[in-house]
């Protein structure tokens, strides 16, 4: 069911793609001339990034370590046919074709902030449906407490998977209440176009109040469990990446500050802007973590 989450951002807020660059250069010119401040108000200044920006600066290590590697190499990924296995503590386990999964789902547009753990950010107009709709269909059993996700494992098409530094496939997980939250999206597109391969085609998770690596791409498995699932970065660097990984300007990454972020697309003279608690979704999600020490459960 669409429309449960009411964003204060409407589709009409999205600047048409063609005029972005003009708008930016006008703003840049004004700031250079001292007409407007160079420091943006905060990261709640929600002008979506261009399609070009969103699709050319990606962390998708299955295709390489470079930010431009996914765009270069993800073209080789076969996304049709595509199936997702739904298993674990569900009433209707099975492997479902993506067409069957999408049947009856209303795809809606959600303009979300996207904050990478590396302290850069974008604003992305996603298309997708709420994960809750899929979980309801699968029939979550009362004993389930977590949802685990897995990315496709296909070294033949994913060159990064041929190297051994990560224990592929990429894995992520959410607590059940996080997974059922109306903000949590299964995204199938950007800007009304099918999900580009480098952004996690054909279907990926989007959890806007968490660091980007939680929003697992190219999902082939969803498993309901009663134990906390492993997540790849936590396994690699447990001191640096936690299970929760909620965006939090007060809890620094051991190697860098999380208090600020740089919006991709601002050019060579872009200033950093303050990072917002829960990436600006505090009102919607903070209650799920009431009483938790967010330094301990980072």
């Amino acid at each position: 069911m669409a429309g449960r989450y009411q964003s204060d951002l409407r589709w009409s807020d999205v600047t048409p793609r063609e005029v972005f660059m003009n708008r930016r250069s006008v703003l840049a010119g004004m700031s250079a001339a001292g007409l407007v401040g160079t420091r943006a108000e905060a990261s709640n200044d929600l002008v979506p990034n261009t399609f070009e920006e969103i699709t050319s600066y990606n962390n998708f290590y299955e295709f390489g370590w470079g930010k431009d590697d996914p765009k270069k190499y993800a073209g080789a990924l076969t996304t049709d046919p595509w199936a997702i296995t739904i298993d674990g503590l569900v009433d209707n386990p099975g492997t479902y074709d993506i067409a069957d999964i999408l049947k009856g789902k209303s795809i809606e547009e959600r303009i979300y902030r996207f904050r990478c753990v590396e302290a850069w950010s974008m604003v992305i107009p996603w298309n997708g449906f709420e994960l809750k709709d899929l979980l309801d269909q699968a029939g979550v059993q009362p004993s389930a407490k977590y949802v685990a996700f897995e990315t496709l494992l296909r070294p033949a098409e994913m060159p990064g998977q041929r190297s051994g530094s990560i224990d592929w496939p990429y894995r992520e997980g959410l607590r059940l209440d996080e997974a059922m939250h109306p903000l949590t999206l299964m995204a199938t597109g950007i800007y009304g176009e099918p999900m580009p391969n480098q952004n996690g085609a054909p279907i990926r998770l989007v959890v806007p109040w968490k660091y980007g690596f939680k929003s697992i791409k190219s999902i082939v498995r969803v498993t309901l469990t009663d134990t906390q699932p492993v997540n790849t970065w936590n396994v690699l660097q447990p001191r640096e990446y936690g299970f929760y990984s909620n965006v939090n300007p007060e809890v620094d990454h051991p190697r860098w500050s999380q208090a600020e972020e740089r919006r991709v697309g601002g050019g060579l003279f872009a200033r950093k802007v303050p990072t917002l608690m829960f990436n600006g979704y505090e009102e919607e999600v903070a209650s799920m973590y009431a009483g938790m020490d967010l330094r301990e459960f980072f």
């Binding site: 930010k67 431009d68 850069w120 530094s165 190697r255 740089r262 697309g265 050019g267 060579l268 950093k272």
Partner: protein, 208 residues
């Protein structure tokens, strides 16, 4: 030189090198940061130009340090003498490191209080900063006047600070990667290798 042909070839190479002036090295070497700045302003460095500019400069600086450290072993093992260009290449690497630091200071962080906090708090930045500081006296004495003033032995000892700086530079690269990457580790291995071969001639002399 065991083989006369190789010896002749080496002499020829050295002859060409001798006739080549050093000023074009300074001139050409000065260009990359300027060119990247131009690209950054005009959109040629991708959608995150600050990070790209910073990384390009850091990597070039490290590459140039490797080249400078390779000059002595290259002469020892092949007889090819690049020593004439060592000062220029060394100063260029210091210039790249300075640009790298300036991009971080001005474009990336842009706030002196935060810069200091980062230097104190973030080990990879502390290490990188230490490498830069070690190279200041080396760069400042990269001239004939300083050699005369200090005397060759003292001057040489002072310039061995660049060995430590190169190691710290490579460690800085290793530390900032998200996980163990091959590339930074390779730089570290090459730097360590180039320093290790400096111990070889003494050992070879002892055997002779």
């Amino acid at each position: 030189m065991l083989f006369p042909m190789i010896a002749t070839a080496t002499q020829n190479v050295n002859g060409v090198l001798r006739s080549f002036p050093t000023w074009p090295v300074y001139l050409i070497g000065a260009l990359p940061p300027v060119w990247w700045f131009y690209l950054g302003v005009t959109g040629g460095l991708g959608v995150e130009p600050i990070r790209e500019f910073e990384h390009l400069l850091g990597e070039l600086a490290l590459q140039m340090l490797v080249v400078v450290l390779a000059i002595t072993p290259l002469r020892q093992f092949t007889g090819i003498a690049l020593i004439k260009f060592r000062r220029a290449l060394g100063l260029l690497s210091f210039y790249y490191i300075t640009c790298h630091l300036l991009v971080w200071l001005v474009l990336d962080v842009g706030d002196l209080a935060k810069v200091w906090a980062d230097i104190v708090k973030r080990p990879y930045i502390t290490v990188g900063m230490a490498a830069f500081v070690l190279l200041i006296p080396v760069a400042a004495t990269s001239n004939n006047y300083a050699i005369r003033k200090l005397g060759a032995p003292k001057w040489r000892r002072l310039h061995q600070l660049s060995y430590l700086a190169a190691i710290l530079g490579a460690v800085h690269f290793v530390m900032l990667a998200k996980t163990w990457h091959a590339e930074p580790l390779l730089y570290l291995a090459v730097v360590c290798g180039l320093l290790a071969v400096r111990a070889l001639p003494k050992w070879k002399r002892m055997r002779a």
